[in-house]
């Protein structure tokens, strides 16, 4: 019995300076053989002890997985002891074993065991140990086991979300192209699709982050991409497992749910303007009602949050503005302004709309010109509009950068001309990184719509060319700054 105690303590022990004094104990643990008869058999069969022990461990884990898998499933005789309390004992015993690779199947089985009765709870120490080991990447669990872990333990779910946010937001070089990969690998979208409660918690964390870091382009993009991954996982579920979307978006005004969750690629491009006009009209109604004090603040915020989650429509609005007629641009510009400034602080929206219209006019005239020289005064006023603080661009500048990027990509003037305009404006305003991000987002969206879009090739080439110019600019800039 004392060996078991030794062993349990040992498994949680880390080598330190006290090592030398425990050397004897460790030697004993490594070399002792309790059962000499078995030992002789092992030797005569030519099995190295380590290999033998590993095989025995695997077999034991397999047997325990079977044992754990038997649930009590409502016994007819209430006096009969169900085997569920052994589950608790098993989880306690596994606490020091979470990092042992051979025991991973058992840990997965314990986590995924359906909770059929009161006694079938898992030890909290066990959940904490697994959660900690998982976050340190010391244990390899299969996807469903991880989802079950999150169901059992809220702290580990929150840890996983924060870790995802950390890894994405700490990357200063703008939206990474493997954002979708990173998100999918975190297993969070899968967990969200299987459990509505997890989705609600994740979104709560996103919401509070949004409030804390206003106008962070990477964060907005993360939330958008996350929602895309989530919807994809949801669509992949078996029909009988499907829950209505309302359960996943309980706070959102219902009138906006279906229109925004419909992806642009699911309808003809000709229908886009009308669809967007409808969305804009609903949002305008909402904001007016709120200002009149009819609803709580939540309505508008939730609507805006859904817009952030379904930001493909915003990209569509950007794209449509390139070719829109002056009489049609109103609702689209309103949408853009609303996205970048959801709260109408100080009733600035009217002014912001005027400014947006001005920007749009400038861009139209710049990009419709067929040949250089470019009017310096227009370039100057455009750059000024983008404000001079590169580290914290106000939303105004993000709006302008998005429009600029889209104009450059989707307009029909020669690439050289577009390139020149972008280069000059971005250089004067210093928003190189943001501009590159915008181009990344355009390309990602085009990739998603590959099947349905007709103008992808030309546009993709333009996007890449423009991004190349900007990246080159950025490198040159950092180089220059580095040497000064």
């Amino acid at each position: 019995m004392h060996t078991i105690v030794y062993c349990s303590i040992f498994l949680m022990w880390e080598p330190t300076e006290h090592f030398l004094s425990s050397q004897n104990v460790l030697c004993q643990l490594a070399t002792e053989e309790e059962d000499s008869a078995t030992h002789m058999l092992v030797k005569h069969m030519g099995l190295p002890p380590k290999e033998y022990n590993v095989k025995v461990l695997r077999k034991l884990v397999w047997l325990l997985v079977e044992e754990v898998g038997e649930s009590c499933s409502g016994l007819a005789d209430p006096n009969q002891r169900c085997s569920c309390d052994s589950v608790l004992a098993a989880s306690v015993a596994c606490v020091p074993l979470v990092t042992c690779p051979e025991t991973a199947p058992l840990i997965g089985a314990l986590l995924q065991r359906p909770v059929t009765c009161d006694k079938a709870a898992l030890s909290q120490d066990f959940l904490d140990a697994v959660s900690s080991a998982y976050s340190r990447k010391c244990v390899s669990l299969e996807a469903q086991a991880v989802v079950s872990l999150w169901c059992h333990n809220l702290a580990s779910l929150e840890g996983a979300v924060m870790s995802l946010l950390d890894s994405v937001l700490s990357n200063p070089a703008c939206i990474p192209h493997n954002l979708e990969n990173t998100i999918t690998h975190s297993l969070l979208p899968k967990a969200c699709s299987q459990h509505g409660s997890i989705f609600l918690i994740v979104n709560d964390i996103f919401r509070s982050m949004l409030v804390q870091v206003e106008g962070n382009q990477t964060l907005l993009s993360l939330i958008h991409t996350f929602t895309i991954c989530f919807l994809r996982e949801l669509a992949a579920l078996q029909p009988q497992e499907c829950v209505s979307l309302k359960a996943f978006f309980p706070h959102t005004p219902q009138s906006l749910l279906a229109p925004l969750l419909t992806h642009p690629s699911e309808m003809a491009q000709e229908a886009w303007p009308e669809h967007l006009a409808w969305i804009t009209a609903s949002l305008q109604r909402l904001t007016e009602e709120e200002e009149e004090g009819n609803r709580g603040q939540c309505g508008v915020f939730e609507a805006w949050f859904l817009l952030v989650q379904c930001a493909d429509w915003l990209e569509v609005a950007n794209q449509l503005l390139v070719s829109a007629r002056p009489q049609d641009c109103g609702p689209l510009l309103w949408l853009l302004t609303f996205y970048h400034h959801p709260t109408n602080r100080g009733h600035q929206r009217t002014q912001q709309l005027v400014a947006a219209r001005e920007v749009w006019d400038h861009l139209r005239s710049l990009f419709l010109l067929s040949a250089p020289p470019l009017p310096a005064d227009r370039l100057q006023s455009l750059a000024e509009l983008m404000s001079a603080v590169p580290q914290q661009p106000s939303l105004d500048s993000l709006l302008v950068v998005s429009l600029l990027g889209n104009f450059a990509v989707f307009s029909h003037n020669p690439l050289s001309g577009a390139r020149e305009i972008v280069r000059m404006v971005v250089q004067r305003s210093g928003l190189v990184r943001e501009a590159v991000c915008v181009l990344n987002m355009v390309e990602l969206r085009l990739n998603r719509e590959r099947a349905s879009s007709s103008l992808t090739d030309r546009v993709t080439l333009r996007t890449r060319a423009l991004r190349g110019t900007l990246t080159h600019m950025a490198q040159h800039d950092t180089h220059t700054h580095g040497t000064t």
Partner: protein, 353 residues
């Protein structure tokens, strides 16, 4: 071949050296290389243990090496060919028990490894071993069915290993030349652990391992699957006391599994039961059937338990058993009086469920 012999010789010398003060000068590289050489020897064992010619050569060489090392090193223990399979473990034990090993080197054995290099170097070798052994101990303590389920994981692993070894020795590729070796193997193992429950459990596990592997068996294995199984049964027939031990001490459920799996075993088992039955004598004073020879039989109660289980095994078995017992009862005179025929009494005993 020459190279292999030389290398084995060198490694044996290495093992001897590792237990002396020379290790004071060892560092990580030396340690890694030492472990790699012992790993090499283990491979040599695996490759050639079923090859009598090579085995012979190596054994002869080892004898020579042992002699010379015995004179050089005080307190030297001989290394035999079968020791080669445990080479790495021997090195580890030697080092751990050698006070002259520098602590930095010992520490290496206990460092946790993060990624890769598991089998290439010595780092963390010891800690993995302890981790695995401790995990086994901790987990077997919580395994509820430990006392009731059979065979246990250790017997199971040994049983499967035994079957694998027999498969190699008896495979068509070996051409039947190794049958003698197979027999010798079983004899050796029996001798090693004496006729105790350990070996019965292992043999039973070996026989049962085919059931678990049935779905995974490749067509090439199918041929030898029957061969090794039958070989063991044949061998058991010649070691009657072990067979008796097996059938009387193993849980009846296990015997039922085997019964279901193999016609051959059914016959063997059936014969065993009949033999036990015939060894019972009726004691008129006690009014009970008693064993004439307590060492080589079972009690009436045990025997009836066995027959009762057979009845429950499956419908066709039930019919067969009843028919058999009836025939035996008829041969004894077909009386319905208790005490005249053990078979008749068994029938009435198991008839009352």
């Amino acid at each position: 071949m020459e190279a292999i012999v030389k290398n084995v010789e060198r490694t044996t010398e290495l093992l001897a050296v590792s237990q002396t003060e020379t290790v004071q000068r060892w560092d990580k590289q030396t340690l890694d290389r030492a472990f790699q050489w012992t790993q090499y020897c283990q491979h040599v064992y695996t490759r050639f243990h079923a090859n009598p010619t090579v085995r012979d050569i190596l054994e002869k060489q080892l004898q020579v090496t042992n002699e010379s090392l015995r004179t050089t090193f005080h307190g030297y223990t001989d290394i035999t060919f079968s020791d080669l399979s445990q080479c790495q473990h021997l090195l580890l034990v030697g080092l751990l028990n050698n006070a002259a090993v520098p602590s930095s080197v010992v520490k290496l054995l206990f460092d946790t490894i993060t990624v890769g290099g598991k089998y290439k170097d010595a780092t963390g070798h010891c800690i993995e071993l302890i981790e695995v052994k401790s995990a086994c101990k901790v987990l077997s303590a919580i395994y509820l069915k430990r006392s009731t389920s059979f065979p246990g994981p250790d017997a199971d692993v040994l049983g499967m290993t035994l079957m694998e070894m027999l498969d190699i020795l008896l495979s068509p590729a070996a051409g039947g030349s190794k049958v003698g070796l197979a027999g010798k193997l079983l004899d050796n193992l029996l001798q090693t652990c004496g006729e105790n429950e350990n070996f019965s459990g292992v043999v039973a596990a070996a026989l049962l391992s085919r059931k678990n592997n049935k779905t995974a068996a490749a067509t090439t294995k199918m041929a030898s699957e029957g061969v090794s199984f039958h070989f063991i049964l044949d061998w058991l027939q010649q070691h009657h006391s072990l067979l008796h031990n097996m059938c009387s001490t193993l849980p009846i459920g296990l015997l039922m599994d085997l019964h279901q799996q193999s016609v051959r075993f059914r016959v063997t088992y059936g014969d065993m039961l009949k033999q036990w039955g015939s060894q019972l004598e009726y004691d008129v004073g006690e009014g009970e059937w008693v064993q004439m020879d307590t060492t080589d039989g079972v009690s009436f109660k045990t025997l009836s338990d066995h027959y009762r289980s057979l009845l429950g095994a499956c419908p066709s078995t039930k019919e067969d058993v009843e028919r058999e017992l009836t025939e035996l009862k008829v041969a004894d005179g077909d009386f319905d009086v208790r005490g005249l025929s053990v078979w008749g009494d068994l029938l009435s005993e198991i008839g009352q469920l």
